[in-house]
């Protein structure tokens, strides 16, 4: 029982703590790139602990969907966090499913978030929901195709198996098709986490907002849960990108001696990827909403090509 519970608890704690820190780190890095000092890296954590202590205002038109959505969204993203390899090849909940479970659990959370946006009947919520759905309808196939490219190399959609094959073949693992798939998945990461070419995470009241529009009606602890879930989602997608494409140095079991160096290496990779995200955010302007499908079309075509070139060569 101990060997079963220990990985789950450790990974859950890591996901819950590291996710807001990564958001804070990207914000800090962006501030530095724009010659500002920026808030502390721990600011998202402070914000959430403060929100958890506050009262809530809930619209009288809201139904039960509005009330359960924060829990659904938070729990689905957290369980996705337990389905991806983080510091060890062995996934704590690997018996629950592989990469398809990851994609559809995220989709379930998104579905409820869109419902909650519509539920209160405010104009902004509906706008946010329709935009989120439009974008995810193109981003999701691109994400699937990109991940399947790696899954074909590994011969399995089980994430543990994919990472294991990647680690065993060392530098022989990266394939030209992986470059295309990585680029596609990076664009999807920017779109799914509401980063700048698609959505602006820094503003709260702007007509073009997507994620913020959906959670506009939430306050207090519910808002804290939604924000936490959003940062966990970002963290999980980054982890997926790092550990599927660069699985080197991942621990092979759950002993402290192999997890500790693996965690160090993972943090370094995470910092590099966060730097890349901050760089893209600083050097690009936000796209017009009707141009967003163009960007996602690039991701889709790249992912489709990656899969096709896998079969041609």
């Amino acid at each position: 029982m101990k060997t079963f519970l220990f990985p789950i608890i450790l990974q859950a704690v890591l996901v819950l703590l590291l996710a807001p820190l990564v958001s804070g780190f990207i914000k800090k890095l962006k501030a530095h790139l724009q010659m500002r000092r920026g808030a502390s890296i721990c600011q998202p954590l402070f914000d959430m602990t403060k929100l958890l202590r506050k009262d809530m205002v809930i619209s009288e038109h809201a139904s039960w969907i509005f009330r359960i959505t924060p829990y659904v969204v938070f729990l689905t993203t957290l369980s996705v966090g337990l389905l991806v390899p983080l510091v060890s090849i062995h996934v704590p909940l690997s018996f629950m499913g592989g990469v398809l479970a990851v994609i559809y659990l995220l989709a379930l959370g998104r579905f409820f978030m869109a419902l909650a946006g519509l539920d209160t009947g405010s104009a902004f919520g509906g706008m946010g929901s329709s935009r989120e759905m439009t974008i995810s309808a193109i981003a999701e196939p691109a994400m699937m195709l990109a991940i399947f490219t790696v899954a074909i190399t590994a011969g399995s959609t089980n994430l543990s198996q994919m990472v294991l094959v990647g680690q065993e073949s060392g530098w022989k693992f990266p394939d030209p098709s992986h470059t295309l798939a990585f680029a596609a998945l990076f664009i999807v990461l920017l779109a799914e986490t509401g980063r700048i070419p698609v959505d602006n995470p820094a503003t709260h009241l702007e007509l073009t907002m997507i994620h913020e529009a959906m959670v506009l009606e939430y306050s207090g602890p519910y808002l804290a849960l939604m924000e936490w879930a959003a940062s966990i989602k970002q963290f999980v997608l980054m982890t997926l990108l790092i550990n599927v494409f660069f699985p080197f140095g991942l621990g092979t079991d759950w002993e402290i001696s192999s997890i500790a160096p693996s965690l160090m290496l993972f943090t370094v990779k995470l910092l590099v990827l966060s730097g890349l995200v901050a760089l893209v955010e600083t050097t690009n302007a936000k796209l017009r909403l009707f141009r967003v499908p163009d960007l996602l079309a690039i991701a889709f075509v790249l992912a489709a090509l990656a899969l096709a070139s896998k079969f041609l060569f």
């Binding site: 022989k172 030209p176 141009r291 163009d294 690039i298 790249l302 489709a304 090509l305 096709a308 041609l312």
Partner: protein, 227 residues
Amino acid sequence: MFYRDPEFGSRMITLMAAAALVTQFLMVGQRILITNIRLFAVQSFLLSGIAITIAWFQNAQHIYLAAALTFVLKVMLVPWFLKRIADRMRTQPEVQPLINAPVSLLLCGGLTLMAYLVAQPLTLDLKREAGFELGHNTLAVAISLLLLGFYLMVSRRKALSQVLALLTMENGVFLAAISLTYGVPFVVEIGIFFDVLVAVMVLGILVYRIGETFESMDVSKLRDLKG
């Protein structure tokens, strides 16, 4: 050690070639001219990286020089020059393609597949006869860079983005040359480089003139009768 292993070199080359293909796709989808110029610089940088890798694994000294020339000319000089023209023209920052981005991307996906299919028998023959592996996938990427460059040239309206398309086509030719023959003789290489430099200079002046006369970089205006 792995950095002496020719197979490692082959991996690195195909990875960088695939990354160059990614930049080409970003150029097809991207509408801002300045970003397009930056993407061209990134693509040329990857190309000089490929050249250095080939030089290292083949012990071919003169390819180092080709890589250095690529870096100086195509990563620094040409983008700087094009950016200067774009700044001076002060026209709209968008490139205004004739065909919208999603359709162009799908077409380019098809072109790339075609390039892969065309390159496949060639590379298989090479593998059987000459028995070499180094960058066999690169020919497909080189052909698709060429085709996508053609496509960009046809579908773009502004003179400056057409110059950029011509340059990416040249990148494709360079990639094919170094990945198949491990570098043409040095005199030929120098000739090609100065050819490109002079072409860009002349085209730059031409673009500037078009802009001065028509107050736009749209080449379709050249067809209008004057009087």
